[in-house]
């Protein structure tokens, strides 16, 4: 079975449909699947439920799908970076489900690992706990959270081999490895596909079993907050 596709459009062909649930990797604009997002925009698929830590910015990342009103619901931990998000949310066009960031990460990990639910202390005594099962373990209260899965996960890695083994780079890893496990189909976009055997098997972050399709993308890698220090003058 051939996993390598020519581009995002080819890799997503036959996978997308209106009303689907999508997971999109990335933290802020770091490590986001830019190419698949652009292809989904072009495909015009709508009523998406998108599980992603953030929702891009106006005009970039998931903000592109938001601007085109392709998203029905976001499942996120922090979404403060776009005006269009605010407008759609306040007008009732967009549904939003907040999850604590660690709960979101663990729900995705659990979903991918066949774990339907788990208990966590995060959110006990807050709005997040309302309506959720509470249980005591060793005298402490925990709430139940459920695993998450997606019809398609779109993730971004640094390098892959033709088997779909993935290596991520620096903090661009973030949610990508868990999302790769939780998609019925996972599409990975990478900066480079190397020959089989070129990746050190001990240093593979995501084994290829979790990746069904991959392609080499081109990346803008936009920076949200460019913070620098001055070089001391000797």
């Amino acid at each position: 079975m051939k996993k390598v596709f020519a581009d995002a459009q080819a890799a997503l062909d036959g996978l997308v449909f209106d009303g689907m649930t999508l997971m999109a990797g990335g933290f802020g604009l770091c490590g986001i699947p830019e190419n698949s997002i652009a292809a989904l925009h072009k495909a015009g698929v709508k009523d998406l439920t998108v599980i992603s830590n953030n929702c891009g910015v106006d005009g970039f990342g998931l903000g592109v799908l938001l601007d085109a009103k392709q998203i029905k619901k976001m499942v996120s931990s922090y979404v403060g970076e776009n005006k269009e998000f605010e407008r759609q949310f306040l007008s009732g066009e967009l549904e939003l489900e907040f999850n604590p960031q660690g709960t979101l990460a663990e729900r995705i990990r659990a979903g991918g690992a066949g774990i339907p639910g788990f208990f966590t202390k995060t959110g006990v005594g807050t709005l997040i706990a309302e309506g959720k099962e509470h249980r005591e373990f060793d005298g402490e209260t925990y709430i139940m959270e459920t695993g998450l899965k997606a019809d398609v996960s779109i993730v971004k890695a640094w390098k892959a081999d033709p088997q779909g083994n993935l290596v991520f780079r620096k903090t661009a890893r973030n949610f990508n490895p868990m999302m790769a496990t939780a998609g019925k189909v996972t599409v990975a976009e990478v900066e480079e596909i190397v020959e089989l055997g070129a990746l050190n098997p001990d240093e593979i972050h995501t084994p290829g079993i979790f990746v069904q399709r991959l392609f080499v993308g081109s990346f803008e890698k936009r920076i949200e907050q460019r913070t620098i220090r001055e070089r001391e003058v000797a």
Binding site: F27, G28, C30, S77, Q101, G102, T122, V124, L127, P177
Partner: protein
């Protein structure tokens, strides 16, 4: 008169101990990194997936794949490791991080914290704050003692939706340092220029004054 934000950060830096793994929240808490004593070894965690966070990069070293939880470009150190968000929050929720220093809108006398949501205003989300306050071994808050209208932020009960319940250990404000103890708060230190009268005026929470209260003098 009282502590500035940078002075509060300097005071908070004294909460760090040799060998600590520490998560610093966005805003004033990030200033704590500038005040870490030279003789202790501390590793900073960034919850987007990094241990061993370095300073901001030089202009020509900026790397879009290397950011902190505030989405700012940063650098790595020789000790740095990178990991997924699930591993990152396993560190946080599993009680492996020694200390979290964060900002807050309100703190109650039982150590409840509210710092993510104001009803009626657009809510951006809690990010990792609920996980940090629930999972990290020790939680220290840095905040202004009163809000912009001069109203207390140390309250009997939080009026805003909570981030976490009974989870704050110590609060460093513009006026001094408080611990959360069994029956309310305890004032341990007074900032330079702050007085017991001023603290009483600007605090709604029940608190006692430590017998060995430290009154800091202006530096």
């Amino acid at each position: 008169m009282a502590w500035t934000r940078d002075e509060m950060a300097a005071r908070a830096a004294r909460e760090l101990e040799d060998g600590f793994y520490v998560n610093l929240g966005i805003g004033i808490p990030t200033l704590v990194a500038n005040h870490i004593a030279d003789d202790i070894d501390v590793t900073l965690q960034s919850e987007n997936g990094m241990l061993g966070m370095g300073p901001f990069p030089y202009d020509d070293d900026v790397d879009a794949d290397l950011i902190n939880a505030g989405k700012q470009t940063i650098t790595e150190l020789r000790r740095t490791s990178y990991f997924s968000s699930a591993d990152s929050f396993a560190m946080i929720r599993g009680g492996h991080i020694d200390l979290s220093i964060l900002g807050a809108m309100e703190i109650s006398e039982s150590g409840d914290i509210a710092n993510w949501m104001i009803p009626g205003k657009l809510v951006k989300g809690m990010g990792g704050a609920m996980d940090l306050v629930a999972g990290v071994k020790r939680v220290v808050v840095i905040m202004d003692h009163a809000n912009k209208k001069g109203e207390p932020k140390l309250l009997k009960a939080c009026s805003l939706p909570l981030t976490g319940q009974a989870c704050v250990h110590r609060i460093i404000t513009t006026l001094g340092v408080f611990d959360v103890v069994e029956d309310g708060l305890k004032l341990l230190e007074l900032a330079p220029g702050a007085t017991l009268e001023l603290v009483a005026e600007q605090t709604e929470a029940k608190y006692s004054v430590a017998d060995n209260l430290v009154a800091h003098e202006a530096a």
